[in-house]
Subunit: 147 residues, 2 copies
């Protein structure tokens, strides 16, 4: 019975170890494991694993070279400016074109894990903008956009 309860609460083991807590650009606690930092620029691409605690999301931002998210665990959200939020779960893939302002993060009642891929890093890093307010987050995650 204890076994079963544990399985229901944690159905999937994380693929990658939990990284360090992010110190900026997030509301709430997120843990980032840089899998491919590409310090030499050989790949023109960075890869990282992010675990968001429930309610955590990053600030509005954009990438000059675009971004790809591979959702691996939990429930999350992705929202582009002036668009309804998209609810995300394990197996979902998000393509974020260059320069599109957006945020991503966990559902209010679930953690969320995604692999992030930033291609074309030679074009520069992310442009960070304002935090996602509680009102914006509640509207994005509490409405009738659940699929």
């Amino acid at each position: 019975m204890e076994q079963e309860r544990r399985r229901i609460r944690m159905p999937n083991k994380e693929v990658f170890p939990k990284g360090s807590q992010a110190v900026a650009n997030f509301t709430g606690a997120a843990f980032v494991n840089m899998l491919v930092p590409d310090g030499s620029g050989t790949y023109n691409c960075q890869v990282y694993d992010v675990i968001f605690e429930p309610g955590c999301r990053n600030d509005w931002h954009s990438h000059p070279g675009g971004q790809i998210l591979l959702c691996t665990d939990g429930i999350g959200y992705y929202q582009e400016k002036d668009q309804p939020a998209r609810r995300l779960q394990r197996g979902d893939v998000v393509e974020i074109p260059p320069q599109v302002e957006h945020w991503h993060g966990a559902a209010p009642d679930s953690s969320f894990t995604h692999i992030g891929i930033s291609p074309n890093t030679r074009k520069g890093g992310a442009t960070w903008l304002l935090p996602v307010t509680d009102e914006e987050y509640q509207q994005a995650t509490g409405g009738n956009n659940h699929v």
Copy 2:
């Protein structure tokens, strides 16, 4: 008891659905799910999930823009030309520099799943070379290179 046996045999649910069987460049059966085909070239990057059946490996090949592997399930191997093979498991990351001749695939007695990332696709696709012979595969996977 039946529950427990099932959990032991399949400890990790696949993150992505099984794709179509590859029709070329593999010895044995591999299933490729193209997650980000990037037909428009927006991301200069392709992302795909590959499930290798036990004993399956791809042919020797190289990528003009390099390749990154994120290992998510099972046991596999990665070998560069004239180097000992590296044994791979869930959570391992492989960085394959541009133009380096190599192969990857499953262990003889285990399936293997990895996410593949091909950055810099504008530089061109993979150059496919000879199949990995049974002798090469056996030497790579059956020796004392187990870690």
